[in-house]
């Protein structure tokens, strides 16, 4: 498999967020009315029951990792997010997917035997509209044994 090069755009599969998943995450980590209760959410700034932004960030990161690994990059850990912006909510039964662009690899990685890969990530809904953008640093194994363990 050819290893992707900078400026390549990698596309993930998509995941559907149903009401029980949205409420389950919010109950544990973000118990605010607009993530828990449909009536309260209708009156809120979002105008409907929607997923916690942290839920979106965590799921998007899962999709990013799967996409990197599927493209032959021995991903080890996410070490930093220099910027994350939420631009629109994800409502019940919407899908999310990610589009990953490989950026520079100049920064030093905080983990031994890895290199730092910058990632520009667009999180999209089922219509392809961008709902969040992230700039992330991923530690990619450069040591063969470490790579084999990923």
């Amino acid at each position: 498999m050819a290893t992707p090069s900078p400026s390549d755009h990698l596309e993930s599969k998509s995941i559907e967020l149903d009401q029980s998943a949205i409420v389950a995450f919010a109950s544990r980590f973000d118990p605010q009315p607009y993530h828990l209760d449909a009536d309260a959410a209708d009156q809120s700034i979002f105008g409907g029951l929607c997923a916690s932004g942290w839920h979106i960030a965590a799921l998007a990161t899962r999709l990013v990792i799967e996409t990197l690994v599927d493209n032959g990059l021995p991903f080890l850990e996410m070490t930093a997010i220099s910027r994350l912006k939420w631009s629109r909510p994800i409502f019940v039964n919407e899908h999310i997917s990610v589009r990953v662009t490989l950026g520079s690899s100049d920064e030093e990685s905080p983990i031994a035997n890895t290199r730092c890969q910058t990632l520009e990530i667009e999180v999209c809904n089922g219509n392809g509209a961008v709902v969040a953008t992230m700039t992330a640093n991923a530690a990619i194994a450069i040591d063969a044994a470490l790579a084999a363990s990923t």
């Binding site: 980590f29 607009y34 990161t61 996410m78 930093a80 997010i81 994350l84 983990i111």
Partner: protein, 169 residues
């Protein structure tokens, strides 16, 4: 009667430099594994035996579990602190974060203490109703080492103008 000034504030009343300790959380092996099974299904966070062989030599929490717990601690803290009375930050959604770093692994049994400090009030009005509160947030483990940090912009409700308040009309 005590004046509950701190519990009834708008964006305009929230000072740069205000500091809170949201509280602590001890991470169990079960919650680390359960979170990872849904959000980060890789052996270092889902399989204690396999994790012993990895580069961290043991199970570590998914980074987003460490960050999501910050949100939970903030919601719980604000619920007590603001006691259902308006505090401009209540019900304000997060808009963007920056400089999020996970600095050290978090393992089963580790206890993190989450802190929050207002560092800026960017000069923006959103949908005529909201201002932005920028805070610096950190998590320290039981050794006193910082394991996570980030800045976040959260909406805070601006004091209504008298003409906007139906009860004043």
């Amino acid at each position: 009667m005590t004046d509950l000034y701190l519990r009834d504030r708008w964006f305009e009343d929230l000072p740069v430099g205000e500091f809170h300790v949201f509280g602590s959380h001890t991470f169990s092996e079960l919650e680390i594994v359960e979170f990872a099974e849904t959000f980060d299904p890789r052996p270092e966070s889902t399989d204690p035996d396999q994790a012993r062989l990895n580069h961290r030599q043991g199970l570590i929490a998914s980074p987003w579990l460490v960050t999501a717990m910050w949100m939970r601690k903030m919601v719980d803290y604000m619920e007590i602190y603001a006691q259902g009375v308006n505090d401009g930050r209540r019900n304000g959604a997060g808009v963007a974060i920056s400089d999020l770093q996970w600095l050290e692994p978090v393992r089963p049994g580790h206890t993190l203490t989450y802190t929050y400090e207002i560092i800026a009030k960017p000069d923006r009005v959103i949908r005529e109703k909201w201002g932005l509160i920028r805070s610096r947030n950190e998590a320290f483990n039981q050794y006193g080492n910082k394991v996570m940090q980030f800045e976040i912009d959260i909406l805070a409700e601006r004091r209504p103008q008298e003409s906007d308040d139906p009860q004043q009309q």
